[in-house]
């Protein structure tokens, strides 16, 4: 069976010089990209620093060192954690609730197509509403505490995850479903071994898209009415023309969003590791 030996050579070859050379080239490329990235960041901050007070009024764009000092002060006096924790908590809760409900309903509708047909026009209609428009309503319903922020981000996340899960389930290859059935699998096995892993790619994409949305939902809720949170900090500072605090708040949100997305990318790499 020479065919097998040939294939084995392709898949499981040793670490030849070509392999080492390729790895070195890839490493050099990564280092180079990292250096350029840092340069872009440093260049931007330098430009900001230089422009402030020279080209643009410092009142409008503040200054990097002032923003850094503000962040440091917030860190020391506990302002940062007090507000960040409440924003993060609302985001995580909203994200969790939206994901769970969206995923469950997406699976349900994907499996029972008649249900999907019946509800289709209503779902499309509700989907078209900018969910932010519901924020004032949620504040009436749930008050100015964390509950209304959780509701806003859950409403946003729900739709993204629901529609992605639904599409993912509809896209499942019937060949896999039939194959697992014949091998002795019941509905539960089909769901576990075929539907969920197959839809995972869609769901992960949905998660990645909806994390920033969850954050946006929470912060907008905080803008509208609240007494804590990063959104509250920013809106307070805006009212006082305190641009330094506004930038400090925005930077905190940017860092949080980037961290969450990095985490999700790791998760994606792990869940979809089978995609050669």
């Amino acid at each position: 069976m020479s065919g097998i030996a040939d294939e084995a050579a392709v898949v499981a070859g040793g670490r030849t010089r070509a392999v080492v050379a390729l790895e070195q080239a890839a490493r050099a490329h990564r280092v180079w990209v990292l250096v350029l990235r840092v340069l872009v960041g440093v260049g931007f901050v330098a430009l900001w620093y230089y422009a402030s007070g020279r080209w643009v009024d410092t009142l409008l764009i503040s200054r990097p060192d002032m923003v850094a000092q503000r962040l440091w002060k917030w860190t020391l006096d506990g302002t940062l954690w007090d507000n960040l924790s409440i924003t993060l908590w609302a985001t995580v809760l909203g994200f969790g609730i939206g994901c769970t409900v969206g995923f469950a309903l997406g699976l349900l509708f994907g499996r029972f197509t008649t249900l999907a047909e019946v509800f289709d026009p209503y779902i499309t209609a509700i989907y078209s509403i900018p969910k932010i428009a519901l924020a004032p309503l949620f504040i009436i319903w749930f008050g100015i505490g964390i509950e209304s922020k959780v509701a806003v981000s859950a409403a946003i996340v729900f739709f993204v995850i629901f529609l992605n899960t639904y599409s993912g389930v509809r896209e499942v290859n019937p060949l896999f479903v039939n194959s697992v059935r014949i091998m002795g699998g019941g509905e539960g096995a089909v769901l576990r071994h075929v539907i969920v892993p197959s839809a995972a790619a869609w769901v992960i994409t949905g998660l990645k898209v909806s994390v920033p949305y969850a954050l946006v939902g929470t912060v907008i809720g905080e803008f509208m009415s609240s007494n804590r949170g990063i959104g509250y900090l920013i809106s307070q500072a805006t009212g006082l023309f305190n641009t330094t605090s506004v930038y400090a708040g925005i930077i905190v949100l940017a860092v949080v969003g980037a961290l969450i997305n990095t985490g999700l990318q790791r998760l994606e790499g792990w869940v979809l590791r089978w995609r050669g």
């Binding site: 294939e7 896999f176 194959s179 091998m183 002795g184 699998g185 071994h193 995609r275």
Partner: protein, 262 residues
Amino acid sequence: MSQGGAKGISIQGVGKAYVSRGAERRALERVDLEIGAGEFVAFVGPSGCGKSTLMNMIAGLLPIAEGRIVHDGRAVQGVNRRVGYMTQADAVLPWRTVRQNVELPLRLHKLADPAGRATAMLAQVGLDGFANAYPAELSGGMRKRVALAQLLAYEPGTLLMDEPFGALDAQLKLVMQEQLLKIWAERGQTVVFVTHDLAEAVTLAQRVVVFSGRPGRVKAIETIELPSPRDPFRTRFDPAFEAVYTRLWEALAPEIRREAAA
């Protein structure tokens, strides 16, 4: 635990019509066929003659509206879990490793020692070194072997194979045929094997059934009197092979021409 010995299939007056765009099309017309326990039968016929439809009905994936199919003493109704099914398309789950794929049916059937059986099965198809690879990392031929290992691991008494090697090149096909014949000689399953390739049908099967073009019906049945065990690399040079191949080809050729003209 094996699923028991090989079991026969009795196809009684089975027909099938598809309705599409307001018209009814007959795919299969009153097929009667007895397949003995442990027999290796091949179906050949022009494309669209309903041989895959018939396979799907034996597997219970398509409802049997006309006639009935009795497999293993029971009328087929709903998904037939007493068969193993292998198609031309890759049904190996891409998100499971080779080992996990082979173990899946073992776990679904709650058989003892799935890991040990999977290891043995992978060794048998020459994939011992790739147990932890994902299907996307394998060549097409290796994926076919994974499918074969998965099909055989839980020892179904009946194998339904719908052009399983159709996508492979001619050489690899011979390797797979050899492997299949070896396993069949050891375990004696009932095999129904659909193929376009008449040479493949004659090489493998004890009986070849020729289907007519649409709507498919049984046109000819030929018993292949070639000595066993057969060697796919050599059998085709046997004069007896030549003779039976020619007889079958004479039955098949006009059907192919008719189907191509239609």
